[in-house]
């Protein structure tokens, strides 16, 4: 199974309460995905020359202060670090390639979840309510978000296997479904020089789109290639710096429902997760057609 949720807040007055609006959406998908949950949150951007790095430590007693000191000592540049449980968001103006190499060399135990100017990622094992509590999802402020509740069917239950996955700066993807040809896709993409972090089937889909976009495809063209090459069932929800995008497989095997309102666009696997949204009675509620790409811009 698995559940997906997405929320894009159009009314600027509601952006400070995006976390509160989203929380019942995520918890509403607990029956579809009780073993892990994750959230990509698009906040106000950092300075044009800076980047945010979402880091996962795996242990709650990780010494983030030492990481900050080491970073400054080795690289002669400052990094601000905001820890939340076993995650932290590190912000620095040093270029991402150098940061990645430094992290790999000095802190190989850290997982780099995402890089971007707006997007923070938190993902962990536990029920959606537990994960939301651990990372204080309720107090998120921002413009849009992409969330996931996982019921693992094809790979292990670990934080690294939880969604969202990323494929570039401020770009993330969550998936409800399963792919039958994830292994062959992975082998093919590894020949193209694409690196993988897990054996998860969603990561294979994510890296496939990453590869197509590296080859010059826009998202629509990349997804059209996906319809031909991804063998399985999927509803994919993607987030970029300015938009949310949704697509369902040609057989409509996995669900999605959309509520479009003047104040927001909300997406979930089931209406249960949308029922609490303000003035939902006046939203346009509909089911997306299979094999069609839906895009909502800020």
């Amino acid at each position: 199974m698995c559940g997906i949720v997405g929320l894009l807040v159009r009314n600027p007055k509601l952006r400070d309460s995006i976390g509160e609006l989203m929380l019942p959406m995520l918890i509403g998908m607990t029956e579809r995905g009780p073993d892990s949950a994750g959230m990509a949150m698009f906040t106000a951007p950092v300075a044009a020359d800076a980047r945010k790095f979402s880091l996962y430590a795996g242990v709650t007693d990780f010494n983030w202060t030492k990481l900050g000191h080491d970073f400054e000592k080795h690289l002669s540049i400052k990094a601000t670090i905001e820890p939340k449980a076993n995650h932290a968001v590190m912000t620095t103006t040093l270029e991402p390639a150098t940061v990645k190499i430094w992290l790999k060399e000095h802190y190989p135990q850290l997982h780099l979840l995402s890089v971007g100017q707006l997007m923070d990622i938190y993902k962990d094992i536990g029920t959606p309510a537990q994960v939301a509590e651990r990372y204080d999802f309720k107090n998120f402020k921002g413009t849009h978000l992409v969330g996931h509740t996982r019921m693992a069917t094809e790979s292990a239950v670990t934080p690294a296997h939880a969604h969202p996955f990323t494929a570039g700066e401020d770009w993330c993807l969550v998936h409800n479904g399963s792919l039958s040809n994830a292994n062959s896709l992975r082998r093919k993409l590894q020949h193209e020089g694409i690196e993988f972090e897990t054996d998860n089937d969603t990561e294979a889909a994510c890296r496939f789109l990453q590869w197509r976009m590296r080859e010059g495809d826009d998202l629509q063209t990349a997804l059209n290639h996906g319809f031909e090459e991804l063998d399985g069932f999927y509803t994919l929800l993607m987030g970029t710096s300015t938009e949310l995008a949704l697509v369902r497989d040609p057989y409509g095997c996995k669900p999605a429902i959309i509520a479009e309102h003047d104040d927001y666009v909300a997406i979930a696997s089931e209406f249960r997760s949308l029922a609490h949204l303000p003035d939902i009675k006046n939203a346009k509620v509909f089911e997306p057609s299979p094999k069609e790409m839906y895009v909502w811009k800020l």
Binding site: Y251, G252, P255, E270, F271, R272, S273, L274, A275, H276, V285, F286, E287, S289, P290
Partner: protein, 230 residues
Amino acid sequence: METLNFDLDVKPLREVNQFLHGDASGLNGKKVVIENPNGAHNIAVGLKSEVDVTIKGHAGYYAAGMNQLAKVTIEGSAGSGVAENMMSGHVHVKGFASNAAGATANGGLLVIDGDAGLRCGIALKGADIIVGGSVGSFSAFMAQAGNFIILGDAGEGLGDSIYEAKVFVRGTVKSLGADCEKKTTSAEDRKILADLLVKAGYADVNPDSFQQYGSARTLYHFHVDNAGAY
């Protein structure tokens, strides 16, 4: 008519469904209104008395599944499998319905005013389905008996491997499935169509504006060329 109200914000759905499964003598002729369904699954499943149930909002999966005798009205949309395996009665969805609406339904009438998702009327076994909007791909797959009226368009593979169900489409059909072909509507079939349109609240729709589809019967009859295989 006596009306009973249940609010799913305060009353567990299981209790409401257990009430609706009570003895028919206590339920026949009663009207039940279910408030705040909020997409809950399995609302009003397995009813077996002449009770009139109104669901005031969106229903989740399998609403009014296995219905017998009851009339169930869903004022919002319905999730997957609405009126699945209905035996008799009347289910009316005022919004849209998700995948597999009316799947394997044996009898009764399913009316969907909005669109229906994929695989609507799959393996239909004798019920009548009327969709005011369009239906998704693979609808009426292996439909055996019953009448399936689509006022809008149909997606890909309509009526694949269909048996003796009759399909009437007013709009366009993206593609027909294997062994499904256009039919000329007989006077008898036109009457079935016209009567069902009236029954479903679409009396203003002209029965002559539909194209009928059905089985070419090449798949399910014994073929003499295969005699040597036995």
